[in-house]
Amino acid sequence: MNQDGYELVIGLEVHVELNTKNKMFCNCSTDYFGQPANTHICPVCLGLPGALPIINHEAIQSCMKIGLALNCTVAENSRFERKNYFYPDLPKGFQISQYRWPLCTGGWLEVSDMNGQANKIRINRVHQEEDTGKLTHSNRNSLVDYNRSGIPLVEIVTEPDFHDVESVRDYAKKLQQIFRSLGVSNADMEKGDMRLEANVSVRPVGSQELPDYRVELKNINSFRFMVAAIEYERSRQIAALEKGEELTQETRGWNEEKKETYLQRGKEEAHDYRYFPEPDLPELQVASQVVQIKKEMPELPEAKIRRYKQDLSLPQSAAQVLASDSNLSKVFETALEISAGKLTALTVANKLINSQNGASLLPEKVVQDLLTSKEGLIEDNNEISKLAQEAIKENAQVAEIYRKGKLTAIQSLIGVVMRKSQGKADAAKVKETLEKLLNSES
């Protein structure tokens, strides 16, 4: 960024709501979206006198997965701490968070800047905390809904390594893909699953020093507005520096009507959160679980792109589109397997990328459509039944696994029939026939 001889210096804080079954420190259900206010609450998430927190280990595992996906180290000793401040949506008067002893530290993520150049963004920390309740203001009343109070929240803090808005955009998009492929969050920005805060300052191009101030852009609930706010701040801060004004640490919000940022809190009003170790919770000693968690972690988008390019010879653009959506890549890989060498990876990829809703297509159908456009389809029930019986006989073990309840095992049998028919059997009928046979024999 070279505009006016200044460059942006941006650090990001991303909060992501985890999709665990239970809240972070109690057994309340997290399935509160669209539910009536204050129906997913208990003494713990209401902060009633005498209630105590307990740790949701599913959330801790998710937090570690995020940390590992971002190349962080999981701490040998990590602690929860109390972040003390007053707000009506915070029933305990403190948030259980992490400060001196975060769960994961020292990672990085590669992002593309405005020139398409790849840069490593350093991740300072990935820590676990809890969400607050929600305030609604109407007329002269303020209503509090504590359904969201105690929902597990992971905070990811970067070093101030961003110098343009494109990198910020790419970072946010990549994080979203990582959350989704790890299956730890729906990462839906509209629903507030994923929230961004930016620390923005500017410095003369060529300077390597961090500016001695930073403006925190907070409570901006749309990615588009965040980008607009950063752009606005760049101009505002450059103009101020050019006028010889001194910029100070402050928190600013975004006024969408006026298309400008506005002061929320100055340096003097900065909170002192009085962090101290949460005495109601034991130390977290989970580093020993890292090996197991790494084993269970699915392939991440970056690795997938690499594999599609190297092993399947897909072009970068196609590999990126497929890998960015874990459902789409699943359809792609299943279809490719079913096609059993009759179709090239690129043919299948193009078909899916050009479809309106590739991620929700039935892989068998995709292969079918591509193949029938070449040759005739086997629809004869007897013929299919014969092949299905053969497939079951030859793969008795797989059939047994299916009968024991692992219904996805049928995919492998469908693949066998498709290969036997040289890809010509009607996939929907194959599935139906297999199911009939397997269920009648058990």
Partner: protein
């Protein structure tokens, strides 16, 4: 037979033997409360039950649909929608709540004078304090107003009033009994315990109340189970440590005499007396007032005027003082000098005890430097008040089990003997205390009311 003089174990047996009914049992205690509570102000709330074995519960323990005020105006109208874990465990043993007992507001105080609903008086001398903060529970058992009582001990709040009221006050090891439902004062120190008429009752109650609770992460997994039920009448083979630091300046000479004679008694019962040193004792109160106040400032933040109907100006002077102290100790730039330093001192105190317990099995000494003092005597001098906890705080900082048992009198006022043991070795504390109380008569003495 006087029903209200019976211990928990005797009461259970008498009910089994149909010597009286549960209704008669409850009525006997209700009559006594009716007669004496106006004098003592031990209960803030009384329940007129006809069933169950009546227990008095300190008003900082959450009781479902029964007022729980922590003796504070802030919670004047609070009816908890849930029971503390201990209340559920006691209910399963047919224990009922006869009333909620007075205490220092949010368990903050050493004299019982900090209640928003008036001070509790000492049954042995109505002009003196009963000790705090579990003042009402101690007074209630001294005056036979319940079969037993629950209290909470953060820096001495069970042991000190037990000493001053001549009852048996037992604080189990930290985490031995679930804290779920105990209104938090200082989470890393708080522990629920008992006031009983016999040590055997304290042991039985610990068996009932202890054990893992998935609602309290700091609760010990194993339930307490007495390993040896054969009663002993001597202390042969026991090494009793006497810390030099607990007999220095500030200890009333008459109290020292009572404690020394108790130690001689233990020696005559076969115990081997060893002099030990706990060198960091002198820093315990200072470190305690930083850690405790820090946790208090955070734990009381939830009473912000939004959900419980009362503004923060309704806090009494002592909670306000501790909120201020704690807020200051945790402030940015001060944390390292105060909280972090205090945490280090805490580790040193733990190490003191660990070293001492290589030389002895139990540690004994005074509970309070003086017998019960005059009402109002220390209210204007918070530091003097804080120093009444000088012998109880170190064990709290280390999470150790401790008990106060009656050991004699100074000018008609009871004096308690403090017995401590290793972390999680609640059994030694109880066994030593039991032999001592059974081989002396002090625990049977009752105030003339």
């Amino acid at each position: 037979m006087q029903i209200t003089k019976l211990s928990l174990i005797e009461t259970k047996q008498a009910l089994l033997d149909k010597q009286f009914s549960e209704a008669e049992l409850n009525q006997a205690y209700l009559d006594r409360i009716e007669k004496l509570n106006s004098k003592l102000n031990a209960f803030l709330h009384v329940q007129t039950n006809k069933v169950g074995i009546p227990a008095a519960i300190k008003d900082v323990i959450s009781t479902k649909d029964i007022p729980t005020t922590a003796a504070s105006k802030i919670l004047e109208n609070y009816l908890p929608p849930f029971n503390a874990t201990v209340m559920n465990r006691l209910a399963a043993q047919n224990i009922s709540v006869i009333g909620k007992t007075n205490c220092d507001e949010f368990a903050m105080g050493s004299s019982g004078e900090n209640s928003a609903y008036g001070k509790t008086l000492n049954p042995w001398d109505l002009g003196r304090v009963p000790g705090g903060s579990s003042s009402g529970s101690a007074a209630a058992i001294a005056a036979d107003l319940a079969v037993f009582a629950l209290g909470s001990d953060t820096g001495g709040s069970i042991r000190l009033p037990a000493s001053l009221c001549g009852t048996i006050g037992f604080k189990p090891s930290y985490g031995r009994v679930s804290r779920y439902g105990l209104l938090s004062m200082a989470s890393s120190l708080d522990q629920i315990g008992t006031f009983t008429k016999t040590v055997a009752d304290a042991r039985l109650l610990l068996e009932w109340m202890s054990g893992t609770d998935n609602l309290d992460s700091n609760c010990l997994q194993e339930a307490f189970k007495a390993s040896n039920t054969d009663k002993k009448d001597n202390l042969k083979g026991l090494r009793v440590g006497v810390p030099t630091e607990y007999f220095g300046q500030g200890l009333d000479q008459e109290v020292a005499k009572v404690i020394k004679s108790a130690i001689s008694k233990m020696e005559s019962l076969g115990a081997k007396i060893v002099e030990i040193s706990l060198p960091h004792t002198e820093y315990a109160i200072a470190a305690y007032y930083i850690i405790m106040a820090s946790e208090v400032s955070s734990n009381l933040a939830r009473f912000d005027g939004i959900r419980f109907g009362k503004q923060r100006d309704q806090f009494g002077a002592e909670p306000k003082r501790r909120i201020m102290l704690g807020t200051f100790s945790l402030a940015s730039g001060y944390y390292d000098d105060y909280y972090a330093q205090a945490a280090k001192v805490r580790t040193l105190i733990r190490q003191d005890f660990a070293r001492a317990f290589t030389q002895c099995d139990a540690i004994v000494g005074p509970v309070s430097p003086t017998p019960a003092w005059q009402i109002g005597e220390k209210v204007t001098d918070p530091l003097a008040m804080y120093l009444s906890d000088v012998y109880t705080v170190p064990a709290s900082m280390a999470g150790l089990p401790g008990i106060s048992v009656p050991a004699g009198f100074v000018q008609g006022l009871p004096v308690g003997l403090h017995v401590l043991s290793k972390y999680a070795d609640d059994e030694t504390v109880l066994n030593v205390a039991e032999v001592f109380t059974e081989q002396t008569n002090f625990a049977k003495e009752k105030p003339d009311l």
